[in-house]
Symmetry: C2
Subunit: 509 residues, 2 copies
């Protein structure tokens, strides 16, 4: 019995140390993205390589092998705590994935990612896909080789999807995404025919950066983001990153002539941070102390950014305060005009600045590109052109340069293939969760109008956040909403909201 207890304890201590490496890797990442001196980055990427290799080595060590083997034996397994069982399952899944990758290749891959990340920044700045191309080719080649080591069921791209959204497949996505497309595209066309479009030009007037910073901090305080447990920095492509459960940092991008893009980015990242900050204490120091999946994570950021942050009720309260930060900009603009402006729909180039309605089309396009890449139906060198063709096909516009096209997102530079679909799943989850929340939290519109977010935050924390990775996303969704993923919630949310904004008559659907 003593040996037994101690083996479990040792395993948890071992895993805790791995999480310490993760905090280090996250700090290194955060530092590189928020202001590490440029000329030190080449030496820095060696450090990232070493630390990744150490964590990698721990995931597939003889010691880990022994823990997995011995703790999985029936008599022992049955006596483990439910958390240890889940940690063990997580460790085993990772072990099985990584044991097939040669250690040296994995280390070289980590270095290649760090280099690609820098090349991407330069390429984006110079708007020149050619600078990024050789790096991206390398990363795609690595991922293809990795898939061949892992094996896959059905479609090679499934191997990548499963890592961000456990159980998700190309077949399932093709089905869900085609339903979405079938509703969004006609709705978009109807909106494009409306003559009385929201005026938006006032949104692009100058808003001094120092005032924008103050405004962001004001909203973070209103939403209840605790600066004792986080900080806000500037970066090129905003992200949230947990260093530990009490240190979850967010980043944003200020634009003097487009304040709302940065403001909604901050609210978005704040939604991610809330998830990580509310995970149960029991899960601290384990890999379960993280969001259930990329899609579930995105549901939280989208819920705050789009469904609360761009709601009529939210600006009912905050519009007068906003205008006080930059009075000239909002002179003569009524609250409702502002609400319509920040929800105006139009085909645009940049995913993270896209409206709720066209956003899924940006994602579906990236999904189709990735699916084609990993099915050898597309070469990396064709990407810039293919991107521009698809933009024309889906949204009727062609990017003027790579910066506004194929180079806009950081994901590929970080080797994150299979991630993009999670953004659209995030919308689907968010709409379905929102529907349940509206049934369970009293007077929710009224609370939002009064800027009282406590009940909303508590509901999200208790129903979703606390569980971390203890539940898979499918299970979590089923437990909270009582049904499996159902795209109808997103579709009716979009139809209701945009019919009202654009004065459309209800359709028969």
């Amino acid at each position: 019995m003593t040996t037994m207890r101690s083996l479990e304890t040792d395993f948890l201590q071992y895993v805790r140390e791995m999480m310490h490496y993760q905090e280090v890797l996250h700090l290194l990442f955060w530092d590189v993205r928020t202001g590490a001196p440029k000329k030190g980055l080449e030496l820095r990427s060696e450090v990232i390589g070493t630390m990744s290799a150490k964590k990698f080595a721990m995931s597939i060590s003889m010691e880990m092998n022994r823990y997995i083997h011995e703790l999985s034996q029936t008599d022992r397994y049955e006596k483990l705590s439910p958390i240890t069982k889940k940690v063990l399952a997580h460790a085993k899944k990772e072990y099985d994935l990584l044991i097939r990758l040669p250690a040296e290749e994995y280390t070289a891959y980590e270095v290649a990612k760090a280099n690609a990340s820098r090349a991407w920044e330069e390429a984006k700045q110079k708007s020149d896909y050619a600078i990024f191309l050789p790096h991206l080719e390398k990363l795609v080649a690595y991922s293809k080789r990795f898939i061949s080591y892992w094996g896959y069921q059905g479609n090679p791209y499934n191997a990548l999807l499963d890592q961000y959204e456990p159980g998700m497949t190309v077949d399932h996505l093709d089905e869900v995404f085609s339903k979405l497309k079938a509703k969004i595209i006609p709705l978009l066309h109807r909106i494009q025919e409306v003559e009385d479009k929201p005026a938006t030009s006032f949104l692009y007037k100058e808003f001094p950066l120092a005032k924008q910073k103050e405004l962001h901090h004001f909203f973070l305080q209103e939403l209840g983001y605790d600066l004792g447990k986080g900080r806000l920095d500037e970066t090129i492509h905003p992200f949230a990153i947990p260093l530990n459960r009490n240190d979850v940092r967010i980043t944003t991008k200020y634009n003097e002539n487009h304040f709302s893009a940065g403001l909604f980015a901050t609210i978005h990242e704040c939604g991610h941070a809330f998830y990580e900050l509310n995970i149960a204490d029991d899960l601290l120091g384990t890999p379960l102390c993280e969001g259930a999946s990329a899609g579930m994570h995105e549901s939280q950021s989208l819920l705050w950014e789009k469904m609360i942050g761009r709601s009529k009720e939210f600006w009912q309260h905050y519009y007068p305060i906003l205008t006080s930060y930059n009075e000239d900009q909002f002179k003569g603009i009524e609250r409702d005009q502002f609400y319509r402006a920040i929800n105006s729909v139009s085909a645009s180039f940049i995913r993270i600045e896209a409206d709720e309605l066209t956003y899924p089309l940006h994602v579906i396009m990236r999904y189709e590109i990735e699916k084609a890449l990993f099915n050898n139906e597309l070469e990396v060198r064709e990407l810039s052109d293919v991107w521009n063709q698809m933009m024309q096909e889906y949204l009727g516009i062609t990017p003027p340069d790579d910066k506004s096209g194929v180079l806009q997102d950081m994901h590929w530079s970080a080797g994150m293939f299979g991630y993009f679909p999670s953004y659209a799943l995030g919308y689907l989850y968010a709409a379905q969760l929102r529907n349940t929340m509206r049934n369970e939290v009293k007077d929710i519109d009224n609370l939002t109008e009064k800027a009282e977010f406590t009940s909303i935050k508590q509901w999200l924390a208790e129903n979703i956040h606390v569980y971390g990775k203890m539940k898979d996303p499918n299970q979590l969704l089923l437990d909270v909403t009582g049904e499996p993923l159902n795209p109808d919630y997103l579709i009716s949310y979009l139809e209701n909201k945009y019919s009202e904004i654009y004065g459309l008559k209800a359709t028969s659907s």
Copy 2:
């Protein structure tokens, strides 16, 4: 021969990986000191503990033992490159020190330091030594136990001195410091009798923080601190820290009503950074890629801050520019009045704000306290009172609170006992090096007046910086100046400068 070459290469690769841990530890330190969210620091200190333990383990592993043993064999040793020989000597010295410390005790010590560091910040803020006391007692007890593990020659405190200033002893310091005291104290008394003291009150007028930040960045640019290889952040107690050879960060503290304290702190840290940024490429990835000793490091920061940054020639050029940043403050103040003000001598509480003349007394006092602590002639709980008594005895003033007294420096909270003497050695080295530099660099006063620092920087880089730790400080000083440490250079520098500022007649000495 192949085996031989490969053993040397393997050893250097092993050492390089240790330096990667060092970069991680430095980044963790920098982050904690410049803005890591407070509530995440408790979990963070576990991470610091783990990473220190890993580096520690590498320093004393069986593998390291084997490298030291096998590479030290005469036939192999003779074929090693001079750099590898020095790296080996460094690794062996560290091995011999660390192998005697139980690994668990060392890890607990690292965690205790992280906790002490936070307690010190809180104690200083609340000006309450009692908050810091139990932490400091722990750290002193650890260091005493470590000394008992190591053994020592002559005086137990020698074991600590040697780690910052190789070869330095209590006997030697007692001799050098008594010579200094014998000259400084009479000079200070003569100055205190002068009636025409520099007016300094204008220095404490309000200088908006945003303008101060601009000013600091202006001076960094003028001095040639490359922001592609570093950054400037705010902290409580300013420091410089190398992450890697191309990423050396500095920090400062802005005070709205005392701009000069922060400005000279920035110039000081910039002097430290220059050292690390100019070490030879060959030493990259080895523990020799660092300043020769704490004292030699300090000589570089003091040379820039005090001997250049507070010189008449420097302000001959920069005074008109300075005044343009905050015109009202300097209205009616002549350049020479400014020069006298920033060099005014007075007994004061805070070491880092002390003038050149009284500064050594602050250091000598700390040296005597540490010496007494480690000779069991003083208890940690007596420190606050003893501090105040010594301030009265040496400088004729008593601190109003612990914040301005015993709690002012961060060193003890980081377990850095034996470090303070290096600050005074820094002055001694700086004055001796300055004397040689003035003989070897043409028109040096004229260059400073024209704000042309290239020749000065080049001389320092070529004669001192490039060597890193390849030479011990004694050897370096001898090679550059042609003689061993000689306190007369500092004494005559101080006598000349302050006799002129205070209009004293030359003494017979």
